[in-house]
């Protein structure tokens, strides 16, 4: 599903939050977050997806109802939430 390299803690944080989501919403949510995160990395001309790329993607693509869950996971893995 990934087409780019991800910083390992950022990918771990995403896995952590996605596996907490209900299984029936996961696949679609994961695809949308990955596409948006990689799009954000490309937009800043980077070959590696980093924390801010995922944070911005989560803000846009994660349903509001599970956003806090996702951001908590990012914090747990040391990703700064601006």
């Amino acid at each position: 599903m990934r087409t780019m390299e991800w910083e390992s803690n950022v990918w771990e944080a995403l896995k952590f939050s996605v596996t907490e989501m209900p299984v029936f919403v996961r696949k679609r949510a994961l695809r949308k977050i990955i596409e948006a995160s990689e799009g954000n990395a490309r937009a800043r001309k980077s070959d590696i997806v980093q924390g801010p790329d995922l944070v911005a993607a989560a803000r846009e693509k994660v349903p509001e109802s599970v956003q806090d869950m996702c951001f908590n996971a990012l914090r747990d893995y040391g990703v700064q939430i601006q």
Partner: protein, 346 residues
């Protein structure tokens, strides 16, 4: 604001200590109703605070929540407040009439405790002859009326070998999930080590659940046994893990918080460290400002093997077991069997 820890996902609200069973392990030491129990108005205020905190789901449990006369009123209040109400119950009072009223009030599902594949095992542990039959009847009523339900067995020394049969029973009854609890020596179970599983039993349970989840016709969740998730991360291909498996790390105070019938707030029903009381403190203040929760959330403060473990975020050890064993909620999980070469960071 942005750097503040986000809302809990789940809040467990024990609305009564009253229970019609006499389980020797009961983490909430339930039995008689507490004279200091929150009133209907107070309970509604708590529900409002839970909704205001941004939690997505409130679990009304106990004790046995169906013994509280205002249960349906509280379910409706939660639903109207925007937090999805679900319940944890022994299932014995789930009549068609009550389930119909709970559905109308917006109840999203019920976790039903079933500790045996046969009446004898369940009734012996639960302390009431005929309990199994009534619990199974309650589950059948849920299935008949379209109330989503899961079967929640507690695994202990005398029933762990029945897990496969309990799962079969759950599927036959129409459950949409099985939530397996590992026995924790808390509440009335404190000091009752004779019920606790050993490493081999825990490993076998985890191996079975990983295999069954891969086959995938029902959702499995595991509580108080976070090593399950380490095993999933190590053994299950990443794509399959992301698609099918539900994470089970210690969520006490990070995704989850518990309110007791007298208003006391603790990180989790089995991590019984008092954080405050909703009669004196706002739930929001407790969630965001409790120094105990701040410590609990900082996985870098974990001690012993848990502190050096490379899975310390995704597993975190069972904080309840560490606390019950040592009095220190950040101590290493005393039941972790994973070898150093697997878990210790280089």
């Amino acid at each position: 604001m942005q750097n503040r820890y986000g809302s809990p996902v789940l809040v467990s609200f024990g609305i009564t200590r009253e229970c019609d069973l006499k389980c020797p392990h009961c983490y909430s030491d339930s039995g008689e109703r507490d004279s200091n129990e929150l009133s209907t108005d107070e309970a509604k205020q708590v529900i409002d605070e839970v909704a205001d905190l941004g939690a997505k789901v409130i679990i009304l449990d106990g004790g046995e929540p169906t013994l509280r006369e205002d249960l349906v009123e509280l379910v409706a209040h939660a639903n109207d407040s925007g937090v999805k109400p679900v319940m944890g119950s022994n299932g014995m009072s789930l009549t068609e009439d009550l389930i119909t009223r709970l559905l109308s009030a917006g109840c999203g599902g019920i976790a039903i405790s079933l500790d045996g594949a046969d009446p004898q095992t369940h009734d012996n542990f639960r302390g009431l002859e005929g309990a199994w039959e009534r619990t199974v009847e309650g589950a059948k009523n849920c299935a008949k009326l379209g109330m989503p339900f899961q079967i929640a067995p507690l695994m202990y020394r005398d029933n762990w070998m029945q897990l496969e049969d309990i799962v079969k029973k759950a599927k036959n009854l129409g459950a949409n999930a099985v939530e397996v609890f590992d026995y924790v020596q808390a509440g009335r179970g404190r000091g009752r080590s004779e019920y606790e599983l050993g490493t081999n039993e825990r490993k076998q349970i985890i191996d079975q659940i990983i295999r069954w989840q891969s086959e995938g016709d029902i959702i499995y969740r595991v509580v108080a046994l976070p090593q399950y998730w380490v095993q999933v991360e190590r053994e299950v291909p990443e794509d399959e893990m992301l698609e099918k498996y539900t994470r089970s790390c210690c969520a006490a105070g990070t995704r989850f918080i518990t309110i007791l019938p007298n208003g006391d707030v603790i990180p989790c029903m089995v991590l019984q460290v008092k954080l405050g009381n909703v009669r004196e403190d706002s739930l929001k203040d407790i969630w965001y400002d409790s120094p105990i929760l701040e410590t609990l959330r900082n996985r870098d403060l974990l001690k012993g093997r848990c502190g050096r473990c490379k899975y310390r975020i995704s597993c975190a050890g069972a904080r309840c077991k560490a606390f019950e064993k040592t009095g220190d909620m950040m101590a290493e999980d005393p039941t972790c069997w994973l070898p150093d070469e697997v878990v210790l960071a280089e």
